[in-house]
């Protein structure tokens, strides 16, 4: 197995990213070449099932989305903190520290679960 260096990997990330951008740019260029163009003021209107738009397009939306985004942020960051522990559990266990690592992470984990329980009891998980 060849292990790539960090520079090689980063180069490949750039190559993949450029490929993605290239795919979109290429297809758009191609479409620009062969697609028809016709001008009509009606075409530029926002789509609204055939009737003229009424009121603001940027309508008010439920605050619930925002609440779930905040909750996501909290849990996602905590998941990220769990990753380093998860990678090491096997090695720690081989070194005889398995139980200790479990106890240590249990403290962190309990806080995480308490956070979920708190949000649940507060009714943040209800869609009202």
């Amino acid at each position: 197995m060849i292990t790539l260096s960090i520079i090689q990997n980063t180069t490949l990330v750039v190559v993949a990213a450029l490929t993605g951008i290239g795919l979109v740019a290429l297809a758009l260029w191609l479409a620009g070449l062969i697609s028809p163009k016709s001008f009509n003021p009606q075409k530029g209107e926002p789509y609204e099932c055939g009737i003229p738009t009424r009121g603001e397009s940027m309508a008010q939306f439920k605050v619930g989305y925002y609440l779930f985004a905040i909750l996501f942020l909290m849990f996602d960051v905590e998941t990220v903190f769990l990753f380093p522990w998860a990678v090491r559990v096997r090695e720690l266990n081989a070194a005889g520290l398995g139980i200790e690592s479990l106890v240590c992470i249990a403290v962190f984990f309990t806080i995480l679960v308490l956070g979920l329980v708190y949000a649940w009891r507060k009714g943040a998980l209800e869609w009202k």
């Binding site: 060849i2 993949a16 490929t19 951008i21 795919l23 397009s57 989305y65 990753f83 690592s101």
Partner: protein, 361 residues
């Protein structure tokens, strides 16, 4: 056992540097261009294949024939569709935020292309091979949410705004489940490296050696993966009966095609990651003790194993779509936050206990 890294090494040293006398930098650049072209071809061919596959499977579930006129078994139907979508007009709209509107498809494609490049295709056939591979994959695939939110927001339309918000809420919620079930398997594998995870499944796949927690993680991953790709019973961001086409209502022609392309590729990526985490990636089926069987299995090329497993898993995901009715947004969010998340956290503890007390096979 064919190791493809030998092939790439010989392409670099024997062909480019010795036979063609390229200097080092030119050889590397040539290889990068080759990788780009291969990625581009694989990406578009797979997307076309998947569009055809979905239509055929859908037809089979509904006792129809599906596309069968263009090419053998209708195989060229999606190629014809691609050309059709290319010759459609790109309508320029009056009230959109032009820059963000144009940027959104780039982000969506970029996210799926980067995640696509991490997938292990076979023995030594992997493009990006970070030591944090699977973490990188989760990180880049969440750029896609940004693209979808931007698409809905910049279109300046009520349908797209609601579609994008729903999609955002859904995708970030289910990302949590994906992250946690991947975390569970990372705990079991003890590494984040894609190659290392596959290497650890040489004898037994994780779904068998990890038994109960691995199976729970797999089921959760499958549900969350379906939601993450906005498919199946979770396709309410584009619920056509209420939101027209959701976040991409205002996109026309190939602009719309990009979202479509990325959606199908994300289906493949989700299936590929499930393969990699639970079904041994490109590792052939091995049954401990059956020496002759194991040796025969190694004769099937490793890319075929990977693609076959990924297609079987994506068949299951497509099956979901044609079986379950669409969920409501409150049902969707309570499924994630009240069921999947607590089960996932419990499962993580279970897996930690399994690893620490060596209850695995």
């Amino acid at each position: 056992m064919l190791n493809f890294s030998e092939l790439t090494r010989s392409f670099h040293y024997d062909f480019l540097m010795d036979a063609l006398h390229f200097p080092e930098w030119l050889a590397v650049t040539t290889e990068c261009v080759f990788i780009g072209i291969i990625l581009l071809l694989l990406y578009s061919l797979l997307a076309l294949f998947y569009i055809w596959f979905e239509r055929k499977v859908c037809a089979a579930f509904q006792c129809r024939l599906g596309p069968n006129r263009v090419g053998p078994w209708g195989l060229l139907q999606s190629v014809a569709d691609m050309f059709k979508i290319l010759i459609k007009e790109l309508i320029s709209l009056k009230y959109v935020d032009k820059f963000l509107f144009a940027l959104a498809p780039y982000l969506v494609i970029l996210a799926s292309m980067l995640a696509f490049a991490v997938l292990p295709w076979g023995n030594g056939l992997q493009i990006i091979d970070f030591n944090i591979g699977i973490f990188f994959l989760i990180a880049v695939s969440s750029i896609g949410v940004l693209g979808i939110l931007l698409a809905g927001w910049s279109s300046n339309n009520k349908f797209t705004l609601i579609g994008a918000l729903r999609s955002g809420a859904q995708m970030v919620s289910y990302e949590l489940s994906i992250g946690l079930s991947v975390l569970t398997m990372v705990l079991f594998a003890g590494t984040l490296e894609v190659g290392g995870i596959i290497e650890a499944q040489k004898d037994v796949w994780f779904i068998f050696s990890g038994h109960i927690p691995a199976i729970i993680a797999f089921v959760i991953y499958l549900i969350a993966g379906t939601a993450e790709t906005n498919r199946g019973p979770f396709d309410l961001p584009e619920a056509e009966s209420e939101l027209t086409a959701g976040y991409h209502t205002e996109y026309s022609g190939i602009h719309f095609g990009f979202f479509y392309l990325a959606e199908y590729l994300n289906l493949f990526i989700v299936a590929g990651v499930a393969t990699l985490l639970f079904f041994g990636g490109w590792m052939p089926l091995q049954i401990p003790g059956w020496e002759a069987f194991n040796n025969i299995m190694w004769y099937i090329p490793t890319p075929i194993w990977f693609i076959a497993k990924a297609i079987v898993i994506s068949f299951i995901i497509i099956w979901f779509k044609w079986t379950f009715p669409r969920l409501r947004i409150d049902q969707l969010l309570s499924l994630e936050w009240k069921y999947l998340l607590p089960i996932n956290l419990f499962n993580l503890v279970l897996m930690a206990l399994v690893v620490v007390f060596k209850w695995h096979f």
